[in-house]
Every structure is written in C-alpha cells, then in structure tokens.
Subunit: 361 residues, 4 copies
C-alpha cells in the first residue's frame, strides 16, 4: 500500500523512479509552462469561506451522464500508462472501479480498449483522437461501442502536439516494445522512429491525426455513434455554446494539463464564463491542477459537476501499480470529505459560488 501525505509530494517520489524522458513527458507542459503552473496558482488565488455549526456529514456521491460515482473525481484520459507500470491501463481501470468512479481510456493506451473493458465491470468512457484515415476512426468508435463504453470523449484541443520543450530536449520516445494497444503492432510503432531531437510522439501525431478537425466531424461522430458525446478541451464560452448546439452531452473544461497552448488560462479561471454559457444545458467537468480536496470544491463551486484527475494517478501507478492509483483516489476522497466537513457543506451536488472568496494576494 502506498502511504500518501499529499498528492503534490508524489511527483518527487515518482521522479526518482522514472527515466528522465518519461518523467518529463508526463510532468511537463507546453512552452514556458506558464499554463501548467497557472493551473495550480489559480486555485490558490481562490479562498473558501467556511460555515460553522452545520452538523454536516457530507455526501460525496454524484452522477456523471447518469453513471453513479462514489465521489466527483474521474480518472482523466492519459496516453501510455505502460510508461508507469506493466499492467498499464488494466491497473488503472481496476483502481478506478475499486474507488467506484469512472475510468476514461485513451486512444493511445498501451492495452486495447477491449482488454480494458474486460478487466473489470464498471462505468467507462473512451477518449477519441480522430485519425486522418476516417476508417481508422470509425473502427475505434465501433469497437468502443461494442466493448460497452458509456460515452465517447473527443479531445478537441490537440490538432497537433503542443510545444513540449522537455520532450524535444530529451528527444523523448517511449521505451522499445511499448506499443499502442488499439492498433496493429507494426502500424503503431512505425512512426515512433522520429528524427533525432524531435519528440517521437509529436511526429506520430502530426502524421496520423487530423489537424483540421471541425464541428462537422463532431456531427459525423454523432451520426456514426449513439454514445453520448463529451467534448474535452473547451475553454472559450463561445465554444461551450457550440458544443451544446452540436449535441454534446458534456464538456470538459481543460487545457490538456497545460500541455497544449501555453498562455491558455487556467481551467479554474476559464470555468465560470463557460458555466454561464452552458447554463445547465450540458454537464461540465474540469481537469488541470487538481491536487487537493479543496481544489475539487473550488471547481464544483464554480459550476463543474466533477473533476478529472490526471498526473497524480500516473505517479500512483509508478510507485505502487494498481494499489498506488487506488491510494491516490482514496487520498483525494478523504481530503474532499474532510474539506467538505470543515467547509460545512452538505453535498457535492449543492456547492455554489457563495463558498468562494477572491483574495488579492
């Protein structure tokens, strides 16, 4: 069992276990990493105004697109959990199920979406990247439906990989033998032989994915699939409105963990205007910089229904495999419960902006 003091501390522990290139690939962000830091800093600029003597025993349970969750924290889609532990996404999916929450499998998982679906019976979403070859894309969508995924989570902020200076410095490529589970072995690794001094993954993405994705592709996805559609990577209120108009069941306010456009606002900064634009017409999730139970509260108080947890899950996997990922989720749940109690808040479903205070520090 992994003994956790707080989630931030896990990063340092994981750094000692992973190859430099792998650690940097996971921990790093785009450009000057302003957005990466700002995701954390913006949470710290929000204060919470606790209420006393309310005698609450806080309820953490909620639903996301109808799926019951024991607490409002999902596992964010992330590529290649095999970088962190041998069981890769199977470990993470089982941890999510054990914590009674939802796992979002990435297109770039090391295990196939069918393996992931088969390892445990629990709610799950499939995160989709759209390939230039629409046949490849359609096949992924059909396989996800067949494997019982409950929703399709389309990442909309990655026409190309962000400016990842660390990966370029490290000429990062995944260790040999680590392949993308959703594709034939040969095609999946062919492109990873990138030129020197470039990120192999960035090269793969530039070659394979469709950099010119549009709202029409969203419509096409809705035509070829009846799965509810979640759009991940919305920051502008106008895009939130378009998402609703194009039938998204939910959106994820996300800047891809600060890994795409550096200079994009922190997600907690972008959330309020997005929530106003959505006006209840779709569910809102948020990821980026969530490390404390109080961060979850701040996101929910600003209009999110739940948050997605990213890097800490991978640090947990690195340090203790499935048990580590589960310990991370349980730690955050414990922090959230305690923070709700100290805030005097009854339920995660009824948090509002009255709990928030902007401090000019």
């Amino acid at each position: 069992m992994l003994d956790i003091i707080n989630l931030d501390g896990l990063e340092t522990l994981a750094e000692a276990r992973l190859p430099r290139g792998t650690f940097d690939y996971i921990a790093g962000g785009g450009g000057d990493e302003w957005t990466l830091r700002e995701n954390r800093a913006a949470f710290a600029r929000l204060a919470l105004l606790p209420r006393m003597l309310r005698g609450v025993t806080p309820s953490l349970a909620t639903t996301v697109l109808g799926a019951p969750l024991s607490f409002p924290v999902l596992v964010a889609p992330m590529a290649m959990h095999g970088l962190c532990c041998d069981d890769a996404e199977l470990a993470t999916a089982r941890a999510a199920a054990a914590a009674q929450t939802l796992f979002v499998a990435s297109t770039l998982s090391n295990r196939s979406l069918e393996e992931i679906a088969g390892t445990v019976d629990a709610p799950r979403w499939f995160q989709l990247y759209v390939y230039r070859d629409r046949g490849v894309t359609r096949a992924l969508v059909e396989r996800a439906a067949a494997a019982g995924y409950d929703a399709l989570c389309l990442t909309v902020d990655t026409p190309l990989t962000g400016q990842r200076d660390r990966d370029k410095r490290n000429a990062f490529r995944p260790r040999p033998g680590l392949s993308f589970g959703n594709f034939e072995a040969e095609s999946a690794t062919a492109d990873l032989g990138a030129p020197n001094n470039e990120s192999a993954l960035a090269t793969y993405i530039a070659h394979q994915w469709d950099a010119a994705l549009t709202w029409r592709d969203v419509e096409w996805l809705r035509e070829i699939s009846s799965m509810p559609l979640v759009l991940k990577g919305i920051l502008a209120p106008a895009d939130a409105t378009l998402a609703v108009e194009h039938g998204a069941a939910a959106i994820v306010v996300s800047n891809h963990g600060g890994r795409q456009l550096d200079g994009a606002p922190a997600t907690i900064t972008a959330l309020p205007a997005v929530a106003d634009a959505i006006a209840g017409r779709a569910e809102i999730l948020l990821d980026g910089g969530v490390r404390r139970g109080t961060d979850v509260i701040k996101a929910l108080a600003h209009g999110a229904r739940a948050v997605l947890l990213g890097r800490p899950i991978l640090w947990g996997l690195t340090l203790a495999g499935e048990a580590g990922a589960l310990a991370v989720l349980e730690h955050l749940r414990a922090e959230l419960r305690l923070a709700m109690t100290l805030l005097g808040a009854e339920s995660v479903t009824s948090l509002g902006r009255d709990s928030l205070l902007r401090v000019d520090d």
Copy 2:
C-alpha cells in the same frame, strides 16, 4: 529573562529546542499552509497612515466582556502547553496574570482546569470542545463554572482536525506521560495509540468529539450554563449574525491559526465584513498571524476589540517557561505602545478604519 528582538524570531529559536514532531505540530498548518502564510501576508498588505503632532500618550487598557485588560492581547487557547515546559498551563496562566491580561484554558490542557484556576487569581476563560458523550461535555462546563471561569469559549471550527500534513509525516504523538489534565488518566491517553502514519491527536479527536455540532448545541450550552458564551472560529458574516442571534456575547474571528480548512481567508481579511454583520451587538476578537504591535492596531482598526496571541506564547514557554511567556506579552505590549505613539493614536478603544490604507503591492 528572555531577551526578545521580535516575535517572529522566536520561532527559529524554539525550533532548535523542540523535537521535530512537537515543533511541527505547533508551527504547522492545514494542507498547503496557504492560510497559515496568508494570515501574515494579509497583515502586510495593509498600510497604516500615521498622524503627527497629536501629543498622545497612548492608553492601552481595555475590557473584554467586562474584564479589565492592561492591553488588548489575550492568550489564545492552545492544547498541551506541557509540550513546551513542565509547568504547562500553570506557567502560562501566571504569565497572563502578571501581564494583567486574560488566559483562555483549553479543553486539551495538560493541567486540569481546576489546577489552572488555582494557580493565580485573574480573569480566565475556558475553551470548550464538545464531546460525543454529552455527559463529558456537561461535566466540563460545570467544572469550569465551579472553578470560577468567566466565560465559555466554544471552538466551532473543528468538527474534525484539519489536514495536517506535517503531523501525518511525523506520525505525531505527544511524548509518553503527557496526559490531558481534564480527564481521567486512562481515558485521556487510551486513544493516543493511533495507527502508524497517522496523527494520534487527529485520531483522538475523530473518535471523541462530535463532528456534527450545530447551533442547537449552542442553545443547549446556554441552557446548561449561565457563563457568557464566546464562539471561536467565525469567518462568514452570516455565521456572525447567527452567533448574535444565538446569544453569543463575543465571537473570535479565527481560522484556528491556519490549522483547519486550508484556503480559508486570513482573519484580517475576513474581519471587516464580520464586523459589519455584528454591528456592535457582540464583542469581536481576532486571532491568527498577530506578531507585531502594528498587527494589533490593524485588527483593532478593522473592528476587533482585542486579539489573541497563540504560537509566540508557546515559543516563549519553550525558551524560558513562565518568564518567557511573560516576556512575549510584554514585548508585544511595548511594540503596541510605540506603534500607537508613532501612529498618533490616543487609545486602543478608539482606533478606526481611517488609520488604514490598502496598498497594491
């Protein structure tokens, strides 16, 4: 005698004298310790606008709930002074009396409330935590009344102990043999055998105290006791109003020294709106981050009648026992008198917001 340059410097001196776990237990705060730091930082963001040529010889005397104080600084309730010196609360109570101010004895004192009351004849309050076993609670209240305590100071911000990462890292437990003076020896220490990697005190509190305290409990306390009631831990103006409506004679604007909900505002930040809500219907005290005479002035100018001093008292006890605690109080008194003179302020009872200036730094 302890020679003091300033109160901040005492912390470093005390750190060298105390076991790591004990020092961290006293010095630390909740979560990322944002609120702990913010208590100090928020004072620093307030400037004072001095007036000249007023020829003042400042008067520092005031009263709190009718008790005369030689200056507007009380000794905050804190658990286990025995961590710092053998005479524990007896030393502190005598120091407070020597400084002609008021001592607030904690439920979790190492000496019994009767011993404390007997050591010196001076105004004193009893700080109360409410036990699940209401018989235990009622007994404490009745003993406090019998021992001549002048008020009951109910801590309302601690349904559970905050997220104390330092204590968890240190698996903090008080040194063997140090027991809670208000309870039978066996019951008091029974729960301190916490599992590894947990704070023994947090475990004790979770087991013994009532996490579901409500305003009805406040009413119950007023029924079983005629002592004036002070509610400690109010930050929201709405709770200040409720406090008045439930008969509180005074409130303490407090975030428990940054030890409970991390992200709660600095007390000096929360004070103005609370003072507006109280509108003179109860007395207002403040604790959290007071280290300089100018901090006392800033709190009083914002509507507090007096402040409570916490950690520096324990550093004084650590360094020089009763004489150390007294030296801390006398140092702060000297700083306050000098600052009042330089500000051109006649009396601590007439400080107003006209002395304050917000600087955007």
Copy 3:
C-alpha cells in the same frame, strides 16, 4: 545547423561564447533593467483564449509597407553584428532573405549599407540615426536610396544612450579593428577611445548624434527622401498621432529593448492605446521581449501588423553565423504556426483582441 529548443535558452549558450563586455552590451538594458524584464513579464500577464474545431491551416504570410513577408517577424535593426560573427550584417541579411522576411540595417552596422544591399536581393530597410552634421545624415539617406532600401526607419528614442550600468561597469568598447562600415575608418573609430570607466559607444553617440531631434527633422527627412518613413520608438499615443500627422508610413512601438529610459512601459503594455490612436492610418510594428510564437500572436492581436526580433538573432549569429540567425527565424516561425493552429486562428492578418484574456496573477 543550430538545434534550438527555445529562444530564451540561446542567451545562456551565447553568454559562454562571448566576452563579458560584449555579452552584457547586447543582453543588458537601461538603469535597473526594469523595462528589460517588464517586456517579457507583460507578455506573460496576457493569456490567450484558444478556439477549438476550426480546422485551420494557418496562414502566416503578410506584408509590411507592401513588401511580402513569409511570416510577420522582421529582423530588428541592431548595431555591430560583427561583435557576434565575422560576416556581420551580411550573414544576417542573407538569413533574413532565406526566411523570406525583411532585414533592417543599422546606421551602426559593421558592413556598409551597400555591401549589405549587395549580398542578397530581398526587401530591406535602412535604420537611421541623425548626426549633428546634417551633411553626414543626408549622405546616409541618399546612399540608402541609391542602394535600393525600401524604407527609412528613423530611431526616435535615442537622443542619448540610455543609462547602461553594465557597459559602464565593463568600460565597454568594441574589440579593436571593428569599425562602422558606413563611415570612413578613421572617423568611425576616432571617438571610440573614450575615457576609462565610460562606455565608448555612449561617448561616440553623445558627440556625434543630434540630441535635440524634433518633428521638424522628420519633415526635413521627408523632403530629402521619397522613401517611406518608419518611426521607431513610439510609446505615447500622442506621439503616434503626431507620427501620422508628419507622414510616417509606419511606426514601431519600441522601448529600444529596454535599453533607453528605464521605467518606460513594456511595448505590449503600450501597444493598445497606440493602436487606438493610429486608428489604421499607419502600419504598426512592435519590438521588445518577443521570444515565443505566442508573443507574436499577442502583439498582433493587440494591433501590431508584425514584430521585430532583436537579441535572439544576435545569439543565433554568435552560435552559428548565418545558419544560426536563420535557425532562430525558422524556430520562431514554427512556434508561431503551431500556436496559431492551437489557437484556432486562420491568419496572422485577422487576429483580434477577442483572443486575449487578462489574468490577474
């Protein structure tokens, strides 16, 4: 070929290659270097609000005063490229041409303006300092016209050299043998024998240039030359208006890279009000602190048509001569293209303030 991770990193690499005095002369700024730092810091305070699913393949091409540029980044006029590589401005001019952009030759180049014009057939501007001896000035202007320069870029912010503490500390003077290519050898170096403990260049400028330049001199330049006039160094909206009224075809919002008046605002801070004052009546360029593709976007979204890149060009020259300067330009182009794609912006000619977000951090 120079392998570039990001432009900021080049400064450290170049520092290891150059004599201290030369490095400081290039890297340094005026006074406390507040403006130097602020040029970067002000960019960082602006967030970008990316739009999704727009399917853009961004167009980077633009024109400046009718000259076609492959992307909106010019090479800023800078003195003495010979400090960095033997081919001096010839290398830089060829790099600019290879990148299909515009080179601005400095009055204080080490190669003559004719040599620079002859080295490559490409659009070019001549940057002018006005000498006390108007005959010298007129000769420069006539030579520039004869050599096919497309515009005259008058620097208006340098009646005297700024307070350059680093140069004074280093008693900076260019290495012996490095002469100003636009002047007779003897006159060009005569004044560089400055007294000890003074910057030789500052002394030269104080002796040779006209510190009392006025708008009448602008009119005089328009009389003696039919080349379009660009005024470089405008920060105040009122001066922008005067520039238009005196027939400037373009202005450069510039604080001379933080090298002149310390305390002058960052150029990106000054830009919006200047753009409002210009109101489309002249073209607007900006320099100062541009290091990232996202900085280019922020400048264009605020009303600039293009930016000028300064110091990083000299670091490129230092590290790899012409190829280094070209690599710098190509790196910035690649960053800009990627950032435009991630922002969902179609063309550099249609960026607007709707892409910008002010973050209070």
Copy 4:
C-alpha cells in the same frame, strides 16, 4: 574620486567599510522593514511614458523656498555623519555647496551648527528635534537663526525612535568619542550609556525629546522664530492641511526612510493625496527611496518640488569623504539629466502626472 555605477551599488561597498552596528543603524528600518522596502518598490510600480522628438535640453534648476538649486535634490537631514567620515557634516555641507544645492543640518550632527555654517557659504536649513527642556530647544533655534540658516525643518514623525530591530540586536551605540556637536560634551554623551541590548540612541531620544509634541509647539516655534518653517514627516492629507493652516512654508512627505512606523506607506504612494490637499499653498518635498534619476522625475511628476537624498550621501561619505558625497550628488544629477532627455521633458519645474503610467505587475 569615487567612481559610481549607480547609487544602489554603493550600499554594498559601504557595508564592507563600516562596523556592522554602524552599517545597520544607517541601512536599517523599522519593524519588518516593510516600509523601507516599499519606498523602493512603490517607485518601481510607476512607469514613465516618454515623449519623442521634442528636442529638449532639459533644465534642472529650481528653487526651494526661494533658494536657487542647480537641481531638485537636497541633502536630507541625518544624524552623525561622523559615523562615516572624520570631517562629518563639514564634508557633506561642502559637497552640497559644490553641487549647488542645499544642506539640511541635523540637530544630532557631530559638528555644531555654527561650524557647519562656517565651513561654506551656501543655502542651508537646520533640522530641529524638540527637547523636553524648551530652553534647550529655544537655544537651538536662536543659534540657527544667528548662524544664518534659511529655514527651520521640524521633524514631526519622531516622538520616539521607531522599532529598530537591527539596532537592538547590535545593542548599537556610536563609537566612543563621537559626540553631538550642538551640545556640551558631557550632556551629549551622558545618556548614550544605555542598558545592554538596547539602542543607546533610542534611549537618549526617549529621555531627552518631547514625545508629546503638538501643533501648539509648531505655533510656539513660529512665535520664537521668523525663519520659514518646514514640517518633515507628513503622510496624511489631513496633516498636510493642518501644516498649511499652521503656517508651514513647506512640508516634506517622509516616513523617515522607513525608520519610524513600519507599515506606513511609501512616500511616493502618499504624495498624490498630500499634493491635492496642499493645493499649491506650500512647497512639497519628498524623501525615501530615491536612488535613480527616474525616481526624482516620478516624485516631481506627482507634485513634489524637489526630493531629499539620504543614505546614499552617507555611503558616499563613507567611501570617499566630501568627494564621495559630491560624486553621489553629481551622479544623480547626471542620471536625472539623461532621464529628462529620454523622457522628452523640458524642465523639472513643469513635470506633471501625464508622464506617469501605473503598471499592474
């Protein structure tokens, strides 16, 4: 001759030459030294908006209470120049005269006010502290008038010495043999034998000066002397109004170099509201944190007629005696002239708020 790069750098050089206690006494401030730092930081938060092509040859000359100054920088009154060089105030007074500016002699000078007046024929003011013994005070005033001082500069912000932690830590006392030149040797040094661990000077002041000074004392001074009265230490607009009403010819916006009430605003922060209150009815000077020519401009643009320079003068004295003090003044004059030129400002007498820009950094 002292070769100066900038005035800030002198402090480090002087630190190496002076005993720790002496350096700290001069360099230090009150309490946490927030005001000390803020005096500098507040200047840095103000940007200057330079104008171009104005062809100015700036005029630096001005007058203060009718006395002609070659530039708007006076030498601030400071105690005990003998701590820095043997000629003490004689050196400084000669340096001020050589720079064609005004010297303000302190009550606590090491040389007598008559010696200072006799050393050079130049405008001079006498800074006054009011002693409990009004006979002592009256004698000082009469001697100043007899010695040809042009004005009386009453310090109003020092009823007691500020909280000087450094002096207390160092148990600072001036070196033996250094006496106050304005008093009989025995009386002047009698009180400097302070108890251990206290500042000798603070003790002297507490014993000798009148901590209860009022506006009536100002009236009394006007009755016993016809010298124009300057009140030094005004920060509140209401006190500025009172100063005018009580016949002050000038005020100095000052926080005593951050040495008195810590938490008092920076002088450049306090100046605008004070200038509004004065509304031209008295001359306004400012001291505190002036280190750069641009600082002088910022003060004048906000309504000051001139500034007083303090600590850097003492560093100059320390490093090179009279020549050092003169070099400091000449350096600041050169910076001011260059900054005026770069700002495009014609005269120090016509600077206005249109040159200022508030930057949120």
